[in-house]
């Protein structure tokens, strides 16, 4: 109880500190922090799937990419600028994709599920890289950043770096609170039961597949949100965001941070972001560094950073 209160205070301090970053006035660090927050949101969404429902999916980058591409497509193709239109549509689109992929994937489990989700990721990667009309390998620009106006005044302009920052901050905090609630709610506890012993859950009467699909869709839609925010922040989407390496990297993030804790994967995202930023200056082989961190985490720190903070090893 004590530890969890300490965690809560630490998270609060961290959230406030993040909110103060724009005061530094340095555009680069504002954008850097925004990118970290998007990565944190992305990792948290995967944690719902991996840490709570126990589903190891390599399709998560696909949902991130779909969200980003849907925003670009809705803006460029349909001329939609208002986030009130584009955000829900992009999330709905991602959710539908997650429903289809989830429906087909959770028929299998374990390693087969890892592989079939990998296959879907690769299919989408090739689709967006090669199919005509989807931007091709060079990617797409978001013609206009989401902007909300009414009666001739602009209420919210996400093309403005600072506004986008606060919007992303708010989204991160809101999604954290939502997820924290969800995992404590009956739905989250049933997911935990499925993770621990799915066969038993079925003999208790649960249609476990439906729960798993629901988790898949929820996690996928939130990954889509992270993608939408990414496209909003940078105004640029590219098929490279679909690749299986991206899916692998976000899995590393979740495990490094500590799966099943929500805030752990967020911490993992920050740590990897910082490692990437500074590690690159320090060594040309920083990819190996990330690899080494992943290996060390698996071998020595099964509980991840969150486990370390709680003083336990898993």
């Amino acid at each position: 109880m004590n530890a969890s209160r300490r965690t809560r205070v630490a998270l609060l301090v961290f959230a406030v500190a993040l909110a103060l970053v724009p005061l530094s006035g340095d555009r680069f660090w504002v954008q850097f922090a925004a990118k970290m927050m998007i990565a944190a949101l992305f990792a948290m969404s995967l944690d719902l799937l991996v840490g709570y429902a126990g589903i190891v999916s390599l399709a998560h980058a696909a949902f991130f990419g779909l969200g980003a591409y849907l925003l670009a497509g809705l803006t460029n193709g349909a001329g939609l600028v208002s986030p009130l239109a584009t955000f829900p549509l992009a999330l709905a689109g991602t959710a539908v994709a997650a429903l289809v992929i989830g429906f087909l994937s959770v028929r299998t489990s374990g390693v087969y599920l890892v592989m079939i989700t990998l296959a879907f990721t690769q299919m989408l990667y090739f689709l967006f890289g090669e199919a005509p009309g989807l931007g091709g390998s060079d990617g797409l620009y978001v013609a206009q950043r989401p902007r909300l106006s009414a009666f001739g005044t602009t209420l919210l302009d996400l093309g403005n770096g600072r506004t986008a920052y606060f919007f992303i901050w708010a989204a991160l905090v809101a999604i954290y609170l939502l997820l924290a609630r969800t995992v404590r709610a009956p739905f989250g506890r049933v997911l935990a039961g499925i993770r621990i012993n799915e066969a038993r859950m079925r003999t208790l009467g649960y249609r476990t597949r439906r729960y798993k699909i629901a988790a898949f869709v929820a996690a996928g839609a939130l990954a889509g949100l992270a993608g939408v925010l990414d496209a909003t922040l940078y105004g640029f989407v590219n098929p490279a965001i679909f690749g299986w390496r991206q899916s692998g990297l976000v899995l590393v993030t979740v495990l490094l941070g500590g799966k099943g804790t929500l805030y752990g994967p967020a911490l993992g995202a920050v740590l990897l972001g910082v490692l990437e930023h500074f590690g690159e200056k320090w060594t040309a082989y920083w990819n190996a560094l990330i690899g080494a961190v992943a290996i060390a985490t698996v071998l020595a720190l099964p509980g991840g950073l969150a486990g370390l903070l709680r003083g336990s090893r898993g």
Binding site: Q31, G136, D138, Y141, E280, Y285, N287
Partner: protein, 396 residues
Amino acid sequence: MRTPLSRRAVLAAASAAAASAMLPRRSFAATKAKIKIGLLLPYSGTYASLGNNITDAMKLAASEKKNRLGGREIEWVAVDDESDPAKAPANVNKLVVGEKVDILTGPVHSGVAMAMMQIVRQEKTLTIVTNAGAQPITGSLCSPNVFRTSFSNWQTSYPCAGVMLKDGRKKAVGMFWNYSFGQESMSAFREGFTKGGGTIVKEIPVPFPTTEFQANLSEIASLKPDAVFVFFAGAGAAKFIKDYAAAGLMEKIPLYGSGFLTEGVLGAAGPAANGIKTTLHYADALDTPANKKFREAFKKATSREADVYAVAGYDTIHLLAQALDKVKGDTSAEKDLIAALEAARTESPRGPFRFGKTHNPIQNVYVRLVKGGREEVLGLAQKEADDPAFGCAMAT
């Protein structure tokens, strides 16, 4: 879904650049500080050797200028872009917003270049593209503050059509990696070939970066065209050449391509490459004093052979030196600096070089033939080739 940049946006960008030039100049002291040059290049991954050659050639050129541009000492800031477009926006920001470089150079990968264009068009950073050949950079997305010292994809493949037709090959199969570099090369070739009266029997897109060609080679053998035009590069090119020769097609159906088919892969491809004809704006074997001097200096500095990528890096610094000398190192005089670059000329290792209206090079394109494992220059495929500038408002 591609977003062609509206004419209005380009004009707006141009006028904004002009307006900022009229803003009060920074203090003179500031301009005497080091000039910061950002390098956004791959130092890891498949294209690392390209990134290294471009960088080393830039530093070679800088040393010839005593490491000073317009009287200011150079400070290099390099970021490894890993040729990963997914990381590109963050990497560009690192240099443009974080490091506040005076001049941004790079990248190799055109996906990275697209992310870069998005940002530098907004931030108005003076940018010199040192490799990526994507058409939009000096086409639909062109911008007064963006120059290119390498090539546009069109320039490397359009002339190849003429070479083939001149050789009497009227029926061709086109085979290319199905990503933008390949697609743009193919369409440039198609334009030239059909315009000149040739027929393209079949176009075969191959997923990038697949290197399994056997099925399509059998298909080509059954189609029996007069010649084959291909776009592959790097490892894929080496593999393709070996497969093509091993399938016994090299003697029966001559192979043509943009120069990237043979750049940097002759060693790996070995004797299989003999007989391939390509077009490119440079050839290692160009017999000019400028090229000889450059290649010797590069070899001395790095103990590696120079290549087409190094040439672009080398020219970048020499062109910058001219322009910055003209404005006395004052990078805040944006309008003057852009005008100075537009007027810059150099006798490059590749031959005469100047910028066209869209800031793409106007340069010779050569016909090259692989013979005895070495590239020979057969002559000019197109003299002073200019890019047709698809959709660039600055062209008019």
